[in-house]
Symmetry: C2
Subunit: 353 residues, 2 copies
């Protein structure tokens, strides 16, 4: 209940604050850890807010875009972060006070909050109450959260797999890629992944069950690597990286192929993006290159969650997380995404309960 | 009927022959006019061939691809032209002998034949008999032929227009572009075109009824030109040119926008294509960039023809042709496409009857 007349308890509230807008490659120094204080009750005047203790913060490549300063009118998936304020992203948290009838103290929720220990969420309609508490809560930053829905909706709705399709996934050990590959196997596809280390390539082939994989950093010719792994071409390319890998994949798309343009992490820190030179090949091959962002697919969440929980329980989808401890570790974890330091879904454990 | 026992009449048969495979910008010297002789009867052994007198030859940008030598395994819309043999493309012709029950002497047909005066067509299943002989026969090289079907299927099936959509068309006075713009008006869209001369811009706005148009050669900033003409952005970009125009258009696509990648004439003569730098914008805007070639839509021809004939009769679609006389003029007409010399649909009148 809203903490109207009660004693206004407070707690330390460490935050990860944006120090300056970023151009080029971000560094930890673009952020700083600030000690603040949070009231542990929803303000008495509120009729709807929820106070959440953040347990797990999600680190996702798309946050890079929000660290830049955009021009008015630029189409962006979410507003720029504000200098001097906490970054924000998806999290799993626990309700510690609530003025909203749908959320009760002790509920676990996932949704968007600040990169801080406690967040007062004034529009809790964006929160989703977690029912499947028998699975690790952290899964709601990944396989059962936005990266999972991204993989599912992007692959199923935009990629439209058919049994026997050849699928290529870049950043294949990452939060989205690892799930796309496993969904592709479930759909009866042949699936090849790329990643940036031999350790990741090994994981992709063993833990995630891809049919084949290659280390893009040690290949001298990406097109030749694709030809070797997928001699008959690609029906679906699930693109998480853009740049040279996209350009090479375009050369190998089959007639009627689909490129799910989900992310282009190789490009996020460039002031001038690489030019994609092989786009012309989509004409004779009638290839569809479709930009995907999960914002348009949130209505699918309930169906997705039900299906994915089953896959996890049956062992058809396995998950690899890269969890760092403590909110102070968050800036390095975020920056590490852009050098591929993480192995699996990157998240920050702020607290376990 | 097949000319089995009859006298083997012959005629002069001038041909446009490929002299060498082309890299870079093609020239008239890559072709030569050769005097040959044609038998005017289907060979007695044939049970299906049709001998066609070519009346109108179509000049289309896509022929450029066939003038190059491709590697085995390259996906191309049609085989490379053979050095020493006649080029080939769509034509309108008249049957002067036939061993095929569906085609009779005197029938007008359209389909693919050689760049020559007479062609023996051994697979006449690819020919279409022209029923609407009350319209100019040359229309079957354009608005009622492959360019028309390209415009119709590309715009309607890939572009999927909705009333009120903002549409941008490049090469808007060309064979395909002029029709796309008029179909966009019929569909209740706001339509802007680009072209390479003030004369063409004037035509686009007056004769073809586009809402606005600009000369891409005299604009210093294509993005600014698009912003001026389409301040609220683009729902459908029908791309005939690729390169810098595509890159600029990507910046102005609206959420959920569609790019019909139909042609990239700005790129056909480059040994290294321009890089498209703004492709990343398709992700936040969920833009679909779909390669289109008419090969997959031939089944729509009958429906398309019926609808288009009505539009022409009602004056809702008007046509501009750029016709040159004589097969000797064909090489220059073809080369002229790549400098934008033609105004409207380029064709060659080989004979009128």
């Amino acid at each position: 209940m809203a903490g109207g007349g009660e004693e206004a308890a407070t707690a330390r509230n460490k935050k990860v604050v944006l120090r300056r807008h970023v151009t080029g490659f971000p560094t930890e120094e673009d952020m700083e850890i600030v000690d603040d204080t949070a009231a542990l009750h929803v303000p008495a005047v509120s009729t709807a807010a929820v106070l959440v203790k953040n347990l797990y913060l999600s680190c996702d490549p798309w946050m890079r875009g929000r660290m830049s300063k955009h021009d008015d009118g630029d189409v962006v998936p979410a507003p720029d972060f504000v200098v001097g304020e906490a970054l924000a992203n998806f999290m799993v948290g626990k309700v510690i006070d609530s003025a909203h009838p749908e959320f009760k103290v002790g509920d676990h929720v996932w949704g968007t909050s600040g990169w801080e220990e406690y967040t007062l969420i004034t529009q809790p309609e964006s929160l989703i109450r977690i029912k499947n508490t028998q699975l690790p809560l952290s899964y709601y930053t990944g396989v059962l959260g936005m990266p999972g829905l991204t993989a599912y909706a992007g692959f199923m709705e935009v990629g439209r797999p058919k049994r026997g399709d050849s699928v290529f996934v870049s950043a294949a050990s990452g939060a989205v890629g690892q799930i796309v590959g496993q969904l592709a196997k479930i759909a009866g596809c042949y699936v090849v992944g790329s990643a940036g280390s031999d350790e990741k390539v090994h994981l992709i082939k063993t833990k995630f069950g891809f049919d084949d994989a290659f280390n893009y950093k040690s290949e001298t010719d990406l097109s030749a690597a694709l030809k070797r792994c997928l001699p008959d071409g690609i029906d679906i390319y699930f693109d998480n990286v853009g740049g040279a890998t996209l350009d090479a994949a375009l050369l190998h798309m089959r007639k009627g192929g689909r490129v799910v343009a989900c992310g282009m992490i190789s490009q996020y820190n460039l002031e001038q993006p690489d030019g994609v030179r092989n786009l012309m090949t989509i004409i004779p091959k009638a290839v569809r290159v479709e930009g995907f962002n999960v914002g348009g697919y949130v209505h699918m969440y309930a169906r997705f969650e039900e299906e994915m929980v089953e896959y996890i329980k049956e062992g058809k989808v396995v998950i690899m997380e890269d969890a760092v401890e403590g909110i102070e570790s968050a800036p390095a974890a975020l920056i590490g995404l852009f050098s591929g330091r993480n192995v699996g879904k990157q998240l920050v454990v702020v607290a376990r309960e």
